[in-house]
């Protein structure tokens, strides 16, 4: 079958327009990420505290609680190894809340209006935040893993497994960042945001396998935890640390990817809504 030259030319033009749009989108995301990056570097104390926090948690939590834990229940005598995934996830949730804050300030100080009057894709603000969060968080995870190694933990799947841990963390980060961004855009003002974020964060962790395996939970709680994306991230990471390569990891990552897509869609939708209706004279 022959294709008409005009059609081919049109396709080539569409292709060029598409490539240009992608290039512009990448430029927007990088420009916004640069903004977050500069701010982070100028808030050194914040930087140091946030990077060190998960490692400190692991040390104190690991050292303090280990003796109170029944190795039968958690299925391993490596409690620090067991907790590693929980601490990483805990960090991701905390980052999700603090990561949505700049968006909240932009909205309240009016800079969001300035951004929205620009010809930028609506997704680039959230995605830039996500790119930035993943970078910051990967540094945190590498540090906490280093501390775990010093405490005698051995990652069953080795360096490649560590890479997959970072991927699982990134997927969960996308869900959590997008969800808290959506919340930041949806609330009338920042007090509501902090009230809801504070209310949700800890139950989100308790209603997962962060501290207790699903098998050890009452049935109803395990059922709730199964609906929680945190559970899948923890399962994947914990398996990589303690058990080694299994097919369940692929399943967990697939669920995480789906959750990330859903949350991102919700975030972008809330962002769009902000464009359409803002009651402010």
């Amino acid at each position: 079958m022959r294709t008409e030259p005009a059609v081919l030319r049109q396709r080539a033009a569409d292709g060029r327009a598409g490539a240009k749009a992608r290039g512009q989108w990448a430029q927007e995301v990088l420009a916004l990420a640069r903004r977050w990056w500069i701010e982070l570097l100028r808030e050194r104390l914040n930087l140091v505290l946030s990077v060190a926090q998960p490692a400190i948690w692991l040390v104190f939590f690991g050292a303090g609680v280990e003796r109170a834990i029944d190795a039968e229940v958690i299925g391993t005598d490596d409690y620090v190894g067991f907790m590693l995934a929980g601490i990483v996830t805990f960090t991701i949730v905390g980052n999700g809340v603090s990561g949505a804050m700049p968006l909240l300030w932009d909205k309240e100080t009016g800079y969001l209006d300035r951004l929205m009057s620009m010809p930028i894709a609506r997704s680039s603000v959230i995605v830039s935040r996500f790119v930035f969060q993943v970078a910051q968080q990967s540094a945190q995870i590498l540090l906490v893993v280093l501390v775990a190694l010093l405490l005698g933990v051995r990652i069953a799947t080795g360096p490649l497994g560590l890479l997959v841990i970072l991927v699982a963390a990134a997927l969960l980060t996308m869900s959590v960042t997008a969800a808290f961004s959506a919340l930041a855009y949806a609330v009338p003002q920042h007090g509501t945001f902090f009230a809801i974020a504070g209310f949700v964060s800890l139950p989100l962790l308790f209603m997962s396998n962060a501290f207790v395996p699903l098998d050890a939970m009452p049935g109803w709680m395990a059922a709730v935890a199964r609906l929680n994306p945190l559970t899948y991230a923890i399962e994947a990471m914990r398996t990589l640390v303690i058990d080694g390569w299994t097919s369940s990891i692929v399943w967990s990552l697939a669920v995480l990817a789906l959750a990330a897509a859903l949350c991102l869609a919700a975030g972008v939708q809330q962002f769009r809504k902000q464009t359409g209706e803002r009651v402010q004279g």
């Binding site: 903004r35 701010e39 009057s117 010809p119």
Partner: protein, 316 residues
């Protein structure tokens, strides 16, 4: 080429409050067009609809030929928007703010540095470019916003109360900027509640009150349409004076100002002044003060709305 900004029956309702009520607007290419009205008249809401930040409840608006509701991206590419309040930009320096926004306007990567420096230079901020923007004075912060409005050489600049709260020097900087941009071919839409700003800067002005265009024209036309002169009389019994001069042939209109005085619109103050004084004397009304002036845009506003612009602002 028709109007660069064209609004027909534009309307915005927030709950049960009608902020903009069927507004029609036509801004021609290359002109400085002013939206003049008190706070709460619907200027900012109108601007937010024209800059695609707010979806109109009814009516249509086109900017550079593109509908703001259906082709917002094309509109955004062509406008520079400087908000009423200075945008908060965190811990960045002036240069960083401008460079990041240049990238957001898709200035080619290799040109970002140069274009940002040019924009900073255009508003006189280049010497202060590497300071944190939070250390800037109010006027400098405004100039930073103005610089950011230039980065993509927009066809249309939309300025919402650009000189609000600025000192005299900074106001003059803003005016200079507007004239310069206009000379380079940009079309400028400017919201203001300063009469002198509208008068000196704008080629045409739409006076807005309660979400509607009350009247529209060049400042000179608008003032001429009021009358040639205004005689202002302050006296003890304004109502009695009003009745006694209302039928006189030299009176075009009389409006009571909010401060109790009468604004008598006349063709020729040279005729009207002695007549007012003679009639006052005949009726035994004590005149405290009689002055005359050329009509201002405030008179235009007063004539069309029955309120003075300054008073309307306090009331709303």
């Amino acid at each position: 080429m028709g109007a660069v900004i064209e609004a027909v029956g534009l309307r915005k309702v927030f709950g049960d409050h009608v902020a903009v009520e069927g507004l029609d607007l036509g801004v021609e290419r290359g002109e400085v067009f002013g939206l003049l009205g008190p706070n709460g008249a619907g200027k900012t809401t109108t601007i937010r609809m024209l800059t695609t930040l707010l979806a109109p409840s009814a009516g249509t608006a086109r900017v550079c030929g593109f509908d703001v509701s259906t082709r917002p991206d094309e509109v955004r590419r062509r406008i520079g928007y400087v908000m009423q309040t200075v945008a908060y930009r965190g811990l960045l320096t002036g240069r960083e703010c401008v460079e990041i926004e240049a990238s957001l306007y898709h200035v080619p990567r290799r040109e970002v540095r140069r274009r940002a420096a040019e924009a900073l230079d255009a508003v006189g901020l280049l010497p202060h470019a590497d300071r944190r923007w939070t250390t800037y004075s109010g006027g400098m912060k405004k100039r930073l916003d103005l610089a950011c409005g230039l980065l993509h050489s927009p066809e249309v600049l939309v300025l919402d109360e650009p000189s609000l709260g600025l000192d005299v020097q900074s106001r003059h900087n803003v005016w200079e900027y507007v004239r310069d941009r206009c000379a380079r071919g940009a079309t400028i839409l400017l919201a203001t509640n300063y009469l002198d700003e509208a008068d000196r800067l704008c080629d045409r002005v739409a006076i807005i009150d309660h979400g509607r265009v009350v009247t529209e024209g060049s400042p000179a036309e608008l003032k001429r349409s009021v009358s040639a002169d205004v005689v202002q009389v302050t006296c003890g019994e304004p109502e009695r004076l009003r009745r006694s001069i209302a039928r006189e042939p030299w009176v075009r209109d009389i409006v009571a100002g909010d401060s109790g005085g009468l604004h008598v619109y006349v063709e020729d103050a040279a005729v009207a002044l002695p007549a007012v004084m003679r009639l006052g004397l005949e009726q035994g009304i004590e005149l405290e003060r009689v002055t005359y002036s050329q009509p201002s845009l405030d008179d235009v506003f007063l004539l069309h709305t029955g309120r003075e612009l300054r008073e309307a602002e306090v009331a709303s």
